[in-house]
């Protein structure tokens, strides 16, 4: 229990903050960046547990990241890039690159192309999810924040 908490909550949270620092994100946004990254990863993990493929899971994970980023952007009045870039890091197919190269070098070409294609699919899933949410008109998110304030 504790192990999976560390694994799936602490790790993406701290990791995301690490990258937020590398991009020189102002200190006051660290917490939000961490939360975005964690939420995205938890969604990804849940989807994988339900038997979804890596691409589908990345799609849903990214959806959560972008939605959350857009809400935070309206609330904190700052560019969306801040949350989006750091939040998306846990989902970027870094492992895919490594395995593709590894199998290429060890001459297991079938495995290499499988891994390569999978990374490309994951990348496309991320693209699709971002485009999808970015296209939602701005007013929708402003409305949401106003409603919360009234409550």
């Amino acid at each position: 229990m504790i192990h999976s908490f560390i694994m799936h909550v602490v790790c993406p949270f701290m990791g995301t903050i690490g990258y937020a620092i590398l991009f020189n994100v102002p200190k006051r946004f660290y917490l939000c960046c961490g939360l975005t990254g964690t939420a995205g990863w938890l969604m990804y993990h849940a989807a994988v547990c339900c038997g979804a493929s890596a691409a589908t899971a990345s799609f849903f994970g990214t959806l959560v990241v972008v939605l959350l980023s857009r809400m935070l952007t309206v609330k904190k009045k700052c560019p969306i890039t801040i949350f989006l870039v750091s939040g998306i890091f846990p989902l970027v197919p870094g492992a895919g690159i490594y395995y593709t190269v590894y199998y290429l070098v060890t001459n297991q070409l079938a495995e290499a192309s499988r891994r390569g294609m999978e990374s490309v699919k994951v990348a496309f899933a991320i693209v699709l999810a971002i485009v999808f949410v970015v296209s939602i008109p701005r007013e929708m998110f402003q409305f949401q924040v106003r409603k919360v304030r009234k409550g």
Binding site: M7, H8, V10, C11, P12, M14, G15, I17, G18, Y19, I21, L22, F23, N24, V25, P26, F29, W41, K77, C78, P79, T81, I82, L84, V85, S86, I88, F89, P90, V92, G94, A95, I97, Y98, Y99, T100, V101, Y102, L104, V105, T106, A123, I126, V127, I130, V131, V134, S135
Partner: protein
């Protein structure tokens, strides 16, 4: 909060205008010729004013009034500043005629007006009913004036807007944000005709003032490292400019300050890279020990990246060598006996992450989603190439290691 010019149905605001000028036919005498402006905040009109053009590049502020419930919030002052900037392009002097009351004098003096001349017995002659204020009958009309000079000119505004755009683009903002910021700043300072063309590494702005003079400027913005903190600051500044809280001089001073904002300290970045590597390594399936190694590799990697950035080494070399460093260190870790039975995968995957071009990738997607295909493609190629460079670095080292061991090492 914004100022709108009212062109039709000016009579609708008569009840407000009557608060400042009690005689209806006097208002009607200047309402038709005068230009009327309204300050709109949150959909409601909070203040209105009427300005009449006189001869010889002069104009007169005939009436300015704030709705009773909104007084004391600085709306009138803001409005005067805006119309002064607006008329600065076409007039030299703005007059305002007021009754002899201390409050009014004080207010207009704060706005930069000075005494001009007095028309004796104006109110007694022109108004049917005597006007009293604080029990004193008002008779003389005092004229104040303000030199508008050129409070702003197109050149200055475009320079400011372009500088803001350059800083944004350099530090990794999306194309539409740069475009929006430039247009927003120009419109705020009444440069209405402005055209921008923005690429991933250049900005073209062309602006026109009311007198058919066009001013064009091109700025090249070389690709460099990104700093999202600066993007956030400029964004905030542009928001303040659009709300009218910041004048043009202050804005350029603050832009300079923002541009000089330093990155995080070197060792802090190195530790952050290590932290990212370690935690993501663990997340992507490394053991605790392997994550510790990934932390160290990430730190070493980032020392190289920072050194390379300092000497402007090309991106290609930075990433290929980065890949080589990661893999070499991971292989070394395999052969350190204290570490025992570690696997290479987790360590390498974790420590690759600081090199991954997340920002370029995300920006490319967003530019393409906004139909900025040209910049989107350039940034996407940038991102993909970095992925390839990393792969080349890692692959090269792995294959050398494999061949040294006669194909049995991996």
């Amino acid at each position: 909060m914004k100022i709108q010019q009212i062109r039709r149905d000016k009579d609708e605001y008569m009840d407000m205008l009557l608060m400042a000028d009690p005689q209806r036919d006097m208002i009607e005498s200047y309402l038709d010729q005068g230009e009327m402006f309204a300050l709109v905040n949150g959909g409601a009109v909070c203040a209105v004013c009427v300005v009449k053009m006189l001869k010889n590049r002069k104009c007169e502020l005939k009436n300015i009034v704030t709705r009773e419930s909104d007084r004391g919030k600085g709306y009138a002052k803001y409005m005067i500043r805006c119309i002064c900037e607006y008329y600065g392009n076409i007039c030299d002097t703005m007059y305002v005629g007021i009754a002899n009351s201390k409050g009014m004098m004080g207010f207009f003096e704060q706005c930069g007006f000075i005494n001009s001349h007095v028309v004796v017995n104006y109110f007694a002659d022109h108004y049917r009913e005597p006007i009293y204020e604080d029990g004193v009958r008002l008779t003389d009309k005092i004229y104040l004036k303000k030199q508008l000079g050129s409070e702003i000119d197109v050149k200055k505004v475009v320079d400011l807007a372009l500088e803001a755009g350059r800083i944004l683009l350099k530090n990794g903002a999306e194309i539409f944000r740069v475009d929006e910021t430039i247009t927003r700043i120009c419109h705020r300072f009444h440069v209405e005709y402005v055209d921008t063309f923005i690429l991933s590494h250049a900005i073209f702005v062309s602006a026109e003032n009311g007198m058919e003079e066009t001013y064009t400027k091109v700025k090249q913005v070389p690709l460099s490292s990104s700093h999202l903190g600066i993007v956030a600051e400029v964004n905030e500044l542009s928001r303040e400019i659009a709300e009218g809280l910041v004048g043009i001089e202050e804005a350029s001073r603050r832009l300079e300050e923002i541009d000089r904002m330093p990155s995080k300290k070197g060792y802090f970045q190195v530790l952050a890279a290590g932290m990212g590597s370690g935690f993501f390594g663990y997340l992507l399936g490394a053991s605790a020990l392997e994550s510790m190694v990934a932390f160290c590799i990430g730190c070493f990697l980032y020392i190289w990246v920072l050194k390379a950035k300092k000497h402007n080494i090309s991106k290609m070399i930075v990433n290929i060598v980065g890949g080589v460093i990661i893999t070499t260190l991971a292989i070394l870790a395999l052969h350190i006996p204290i570490l025992g039975n570690v696997k290479m995968d987790g360590m390498i995957i974790g420590s690759i992450m600081p090199l991954v071009p997340g920002l370029a990738f995300v920006n490319a997607i967003r530019d393409i989603a906004d139909s900025d295909f040209l910049s989107g493609t350039v940034r996407m190629i940038d991102a993909i190439l970095v992925f390839v460079y990393i792969a080349v670095g890692v692959g090269f080292t792995l294959s050398v290691y494999n061949n040294l061991g006669g194909g049995l090492m991996l």
